[in-house]
């Protein structure tokens, strides 16, 4: 009796799990279905789960539409995400190392001044930041889209926590060999800390690629649109062919899904390691 109940419970759990997994996958399916379907399959009243026809030509058509500057937007997003990731990782890791390892009387004051900015949600400062960037004349420039986002207190915090736990023996050996802080950092610490760099890097990359509010505020010319802003503009305007919008949306997540599946291990480790639940 007890056994039968346990078995039934387990079967129920598996059914529930599979059902939830299918629910989670449906939006991905719709993205592909609508992207490859004809317009009628998306908007007809007699909506069907499988489209009546598959139009692979949608894939190339979307890049030729002059109304949707998808190529340019993808280029902008790539430039922004790559430089934001590189810049953030370099700046935050140096600061994190300095805070963790170089004795300085006021290091704690500096650390709390950095940590304190985590209390101010970035989104709340968008009005004053917009003001600052417009004063600098950086509206609709890549500079304006990239530079203000490079100083992530969150990334700095994670690096500091990680370097606090970095084995001192390794660094001591470097010191004995006559290496200063600079060369110890580049020759010993960085090569031995690849997982944390990969974890922070992927998290920052995803955040930069998916960012919306900042690019919306700063990227006012069509030339400086990121892929998110371009998609959003056409979602709210609805002036575009729907299937093109779905293809564009699918194209915009494709690189990220690949990165995600390849680096999932690091992302998971990075999330777990971030110390937020310790």
């Amino acid at each position: 009796m007890q056994d039968a109940l346990t078995r039934a419970g387990r079967a129920l759990r598996v059914v529930l799990l599979v059902a939830l997994a299918l629910l989670f996958l449906v939006p991905f399916y719709l993205l592909v279905r609508n992207g490859l379907a004809g317009e009628r399959d998306i908007t007809a009243p007699d909506w069907t789960f499988f489209p009546h026809e598959l139009r692979w030509s949608n894939l190339t058509e979307v890049f030729r539409d002059p109304n949707l500057p998808l190529g340019r937007a993808l280029l902008n997003s790539t430039l922004i995400a790559v430089s934001t990731t590189a810049g953030t990782v370099v700046l935050a890791s140096l600061a994190g190392y300095g805070l963790a390892r170089i004795p300085y009387r006021h290091a704690n004051v500096v650390f709390y001044a950095i940590l304190g900015t985590l209390m101010v949600p970035a989104a709340v400062t968008f009005v004053p930041s917009f003001v600052l960037v417009s004063t600098l004349g950086w509206i609709s420039t890549l500079r304006g889209l990239i530079i203000p986002t490079l100083f992530s207190a969150f990334a700095c915090f994670i690096f500091r926590q990680y370097f606090l736990g970095f084995p001192r023996e390794l660094e001591d050996a470097a010191r004995v060999d006559g290496l200063g802080y600079w060369r110890t950092y580049w020759k010993i610490v960085v090569p031995n800390s690849r997982p944390v760099f990969a974890a922070v890097g992927t998290i920052v990359f995803i955040g930069a690629w998916n960012a919306f509010l900042w690019p919306l505020v700063i990227g006012q010319d069509q030339e400086s649109w990121t892929v998110q802003v371009a998609l959003s503009t056409f979602t709210t305007a609805q002036s575009l062919n729907l299937h093109e919008l779905f293809v564009a949306a699918a194209v915009s997540i494709a690189p990220l899904v690949v990165v995600f599946l390849l680096l999932q291990r690091y992302i998971v480790a990075g999330v777990e390691r971030s110390g937020i639940d310790d």
Partner: protein, 307 residues
């Protein structure tokens, strides 16, 4: 050639070589905007970032914001949104983690499926939700499926009585963020010592609800605190899905405007009222700061942050 021991002067120099560039940038792009915002909030600054002295209005902008029904309603929208999304995400993420954690086969597969939406942006999710699942009255997945059961067609995003648009807004965020919090819970679950479960079994606790209530749930307390804190902070910043789901070529409907959407239209809309927008941002920042501190005190989180 430096040796292992540097003088204090040299150490201070090296500290600033490492920390300086970051600290300078953070100061310029976080502290300067904050101070500037505070300054602007005392001026009648339309379309200008350097108002002259005659535009000084003192606390006028604050008074205007706090007596502005639409701004107060936006705070109400946020509270309502938080009240929906925090418990819903918490329960779903914990349930997913518990189910995935027990799996002996295909664990990585299911974890990936639930985690994958984290890679999507709110913009992409809004395209799917608005134009495919919950689209207007004629077509869309939700109306088609409900139609099989004979239900009437619903205009999901423009029906305010009952507020069907909440279903759209809440489900899109659930789909996007549940997997991330599931990972946090999975990490928490893996830290629970198996001996606790063995001891419970010896004491006669039946696996299932009893073990969950007396062992698993209490052991996840630290994770739960962090998850709730993050969920509330993220809900405060809701912008992307509201903006993308509800605004269209005609503009933004008067209902369901969380504070950030409201500030966006105040400061950067037609009016370009940067003074008023700044006052709103300061008020919002204060509310968030107070809420965070109260919550941290409440859960005793400060002690862990000391380190």
């Amino acid at each position: 050639m430096s040796t292992g021991v540097l003088g204090p002067q040299r150490r201070n120099l090296w500290f600033w070589v490492f920390v300086g560039p970051f600290a300078l940038g953070l100061g310029l792009f976080t502290y300067v905007p904050l101070v500037w915002s505070l300054y602007l909030s005392f001026f009648d600054a339309h379309n200008t970032v350097s108002p002259d002295a005659s535009d000084f209005v003192g606390l006028g902008n604050y008074g205007a914001m706090l007596s502005d029904g639409a701004f107060l309603a936006s705070l109400g929208t946020f509270v309502l949104f938080t009240a929906f999304i925090v418990p819903a995400t918490y329960v779903l993420a914990l349930a997913l983690a518990l189910m995935v954690n027990r799996l002996r086969v295909a664990q990585a597969f299911f974890r990936s499926v639930f985690f994958l939406p984290t890679a999507c942006s709110y913009v992409v999710a809004a395209v799917i939700w608005k134009l495919s699942i919950f689209n207007g009255v004629r077509f869309g997945l939700a109306n088609t499926v409900l139609g099989w059961f004979g239900a009437d067609q619903t205009a999901w995003l423009s029906t305010t009585h009952p507020p069907w648009y909440w279903l759209v807004i809440v489900t899109v965020r659930l789909w996007l963020q549940a997997g991330f919090y599931m990972i946090l819970f999975l990490a928490g679950l893996q830290r629970i010592s198996p001996q606790l479960y063995e001891a419970a079994a010896v004491d006669g606790a039946r696996p299932g609800w009893q073990t969950f209530r007396h062992i698993t749930f209490p052991q996840l307390r630290a994770t739960s605190v962090a998850v709730v804190l993050l969920l509330v902070i993220n809900a405060f910043q809701a912008f992307d899905e509201f903006y993308n789901l509800l605004s269209d070529a005609r503009g933004y409907p008067p209902y369901a405007r969380p504070p950030l959407v409201y500030l966006y239209y105040t400061a950067l809309g037609q009016d370009q009222n940067l003074g008023l927008g700044s006052a709103g941002a300061v008020i919002l920042a204060l509310i968030i700061a107070v809420a965070t501190v109260v919550q941290a005190r409440w859960f005793g989180l400060g002690r862990k942050g000391e380190d």
